[in-house]
């Protein structure tokens, strides 16, 4: 139907509804889509990847790699539970170390998924259709990784239910004046609503998979998951209402979650934390990190499965622009922090700045200048349209942003804590092997879940792509908006499969 060859389009190539289904659903249903990796050529010799045939596609290698590190994470968690959080580098004065840094990092990454699925839906941005599904999956998996850290940081995860208000014989309840309790409510609500939104979005696609599956078992699995979806016109009306309301409530939700995460710091009195810029600056940073991760995941996904028609250069261009814009807000936040320290006139706040800046004297200046380089300087490459459309450059910049956002949390959390108001308790934070094991373990767990998701669930929203196909055909916002019969000429003009 859409006969566009314009590389600037949201959907390139010649597509019909059937070809969209084939391109996306067959990643799940047809195992021949998982092509083996090419042998690596080193010094004229071909070296084959040591993986069993059938399991040597790039996706399976990613799953296997992720699985290895998932096991490292499990070992780290088991050791932690048996020994206690003394195996981490957290110690006075640094009560919050890698655990909280990684918690904030992961939860920030998750935010782009909700932004794409909810805010861009409300703003009627059609380009979100091809990236929202795996961005939402990314949200859920990132929040899962994030949730592990505070859970284990409590030291006794088996009594984590103490965080929730439940009636008990002591008559003790959570202190609702504490931002940490808000965090429990915000993150658990965010997780629940994200899963609901994701699942509701998947239902029509589950029905498509059910109807396309050849194997009885596959039909049964997707039949159950589709909840008996018929695609009835009456159901679609309610479905669209539900999507819009969920988008409407997810929008303030996603803003509230990172605002509350920033309150964990901003409501404290530690130098460098007690800043009113924190909520907007954290939310922008979350979107910045999240879009970087979406780009990092989208580039290999579209290459491995030939999805270039659906995730086009225009998508990358716009994602890079959002990354640049939110990156500038974050940079503004850094400037504000400096201004705040100077304007406050507090020796502790000014001292914190010097403690970040002075290359020869400050113990953490390496982290601060890494942050400025990876988060402030390198993303400025995105001003150039040519570089926004150069995938290797884009991949490098988005990886740099992911690293930079990690350094941002590192600079905020341990540096403030190691130099607060009591010079006698100044210290230095040194992460241990188990801190790194947990961190790389969750990265592996994330990659493992993303890989399994691409293998078993449709990673691009099929029905929304078909909707986009009709919208591009008619050049308006709806599949059909008038009640008058369409002229035969127009109906015939649409070549159909």
């Amino acid at each position: 139907m859409s006969q566009t060859h314009d590389p600037e389009s949201l959907l390139t190539g010649t597509h019909t509804e059937a070809t969209i289904d084939t391109a996306i659903a067959d990643v799940v249903l047809d195992s021949s889509r998982h092509k083996p990796v090419k042998p690596i050529r080193i010094a004229g010799r071909e070296i084959n990847i040591p993986a069993p045939p059938g399991l040597n596609s790039p996706l399976y290698l990613m799953i296997g790699f992720g699985f290895l590190f998932t096991n490292l994470m499990l070992v780290a968690i088991t050791t932690l539970i048996f020994t206690g959080i003394g195996i981490w580098g957290n110690n006075q004065p640094t009560g919050w170390g890698f655990d909280i840094v990684n918690f904030v990092w992961w939860i920030g990454i998750g935010h782009a998924g909700t932004l794409i699925s909810a805010i861009l839906l409300l703003l009627r941005q059609k380009w979100r259709n091809s990236i929202n599904r795996f961005a939402e999956a990314m949200t859920i998996f990132a929040v899962m990784c994030a949730g592990l850290y505070p859970l284990l940081h409590t030291g006794r995860p088996w009594v984590a239910y103490w965080l929730f208000p439940y009636p008990n014989t002591l008559g003790m309840w959570p202190n609702f004046r504490s931002p940490l309790v808000w965090d429990v409510f915000a993150v658990s609500t965010y997780m629940t609503v994200s899963i609901l939104f994701w699942f509701v979005g998947l239902i029509p696609d589950f029905a498509t998979l059910r109807d396309r599956a050849k194997l009885r078992a596959t039909q049964m699995v997707f039949g159950v998951l589709s909840m008996g979806w018929k695609g009835s016109a009456k159901d679609w009306v309610r479905y669209e209402h539900a999507s819009l309301i969920l988008a409407g409530i997810s929008t303030p939700l996603v803003l509230s979650v990172h605002t509350i995460v920033s309150f964990d710091f901003a409501m404290g009195i530690v130098p460098g934390w007690n800043v009113t810029i924190f909520p907007p600056y954290f939310v922008a940073g979350a979107v910045f990190a999240g879009f970087a991760m979406v780009i990092t995941l989208a580039i290999p996904l579209r290459k491995w499965y030939g999805l270039e028609d659906f995730i086009t250069m225009k998508h990358f261009d716009w994602m890079a622009k959002i990354m640049l814009a939110t990156g500038l807000i974050v940079l503004y936040g850094y400037v504000c922090e400096v201004f705040y320290a100077w304007y406050s006139g507090t020796p502790w706040e000014v001292g914190l700045l010097w403690n970040r800046w002075e290359i020869d004297k400050a113990p953490y200046s390496w982290a601060f200048w890494m942050l400025i380089l990876t988060n402030g300087v390198i993303p400025q490459l995105m001003w150039f349209p040519k570089l926004r459309r150069n995938l290797p450059v884009l991949l490098a910049v988005s990886t740099s942003v992911s690293i930079g956002m990690w350094f941002e949390r590192y600079v905020i959390i341990p540096i403030g804590l190691t130099r607060d108001y009591l010079p006698s308790s100044y210290g230095y934070y040194t992460p241990t092997f188990w801190d790194f094991a947990m961190f790389f373990g969750t990265i592996g767990f994330f990659l493992f879940l993303i890989g399994m998701f691409i293998r078993f669930l449709p990673s691009i929203n099929m029905f929304e792509m078909k909707e986009l196909l009709h919208q591009l055909k008619h050049g308006n916002g709806h599949v059909h908006t008038t009640h008058e019969p369409v002229t035969t000429a127009e109906t015939e003009a649409a070549p159909n499969a």
């Binding site: 609702f176 004046r177 909840m227 695609g231 009835s232 969920l246």
Partner: protein, 195 residues
């Protein structure tokens, strides 16, 4: 199941298959003009304006969301006030009133975030629960699944079903009407459900 009931299959309706949403809307309009009221369409994408043609309207989900949000607000406020000892000595004579950092028992600005999250959570549950309840999900089987072309309604075809419960239903007339409006195929579905 029970004695003396006729469980033999009854006609469910006539299912016509169209290639494009435009043809489907045209045919739906024609069916409405011909006086049929009991009908539904099965499409791979939401077709805007189709339910207007069918004369179907359902805004109950909006009220469900409002009810869920209001309930969430109430849950948040009540939970926080009661657990913080705001009503100690009055509504809750038994409760402890803990003094935390010298802050007032009713620290209402500090109660906003959790109340807000409760509103969002209950709204989300009421919307998704409402969607499932109103659309009859989960329901693993439906008579329209018996239609041979049904498997394409989630892929690339647009189905219109004129249901047999419509008082004006006559399968030959429906078939002629659908064919006149360009149906690729027309079939008459049977069901033993609901009898």
């Amino acid at each position: 199941m029970s004695h003396g009931r006729d469980t033999s299959p009854k006609p469910y309706g006539t299912v016509a298959c169209f290639a494009t949403p435009e043809e489907l809307i045209e045919a739906t309009q024609a069916a409405r003009n011909a006086g049929y009221k009991e009908m539904d369409a099965y499409t791979p994408v939401p077709v805007h304006g189709l339910t207007d043609v069918m004369g179907f309207k359902d805004n109950r989900l909006h009220y469900g969301a409002l009810a869920g949000g209001t309930a969430g607000f109430a849950v948040g406020v009540i939970l926080e006030c009661f657990t913080s000892g705001v009503f100690t000595g009055t509504l809750q004579p038994w409760a402890y009133a803990h003094n935390v950092g010298g802050k007032p028992l009713l620290s209402w600005p500090m109660f906003i975030p959790v109340t807000f999250e409760c509103i969002i959570l209950l709204t989300a549950f009421s919307v998704v629960g409402g969607l499932f309840a109103l659309s009859g999900m989960p329901k693993p089987h439906h008579p329209v699944f018996n239609a041979e072309q049904f498997f394409r309604a989630s892929q690339d075809r647009y189905l219109l079903c004129i249901e047999a419960k419509d008082p004006r239903y006559a399968k030959d007339q429906v078939q002629r009407l659908m064919e006149e409006y360009g149906a690729e195929s027309v079939e008459h579905g049977m069901t033993s459900e609901g009898y």
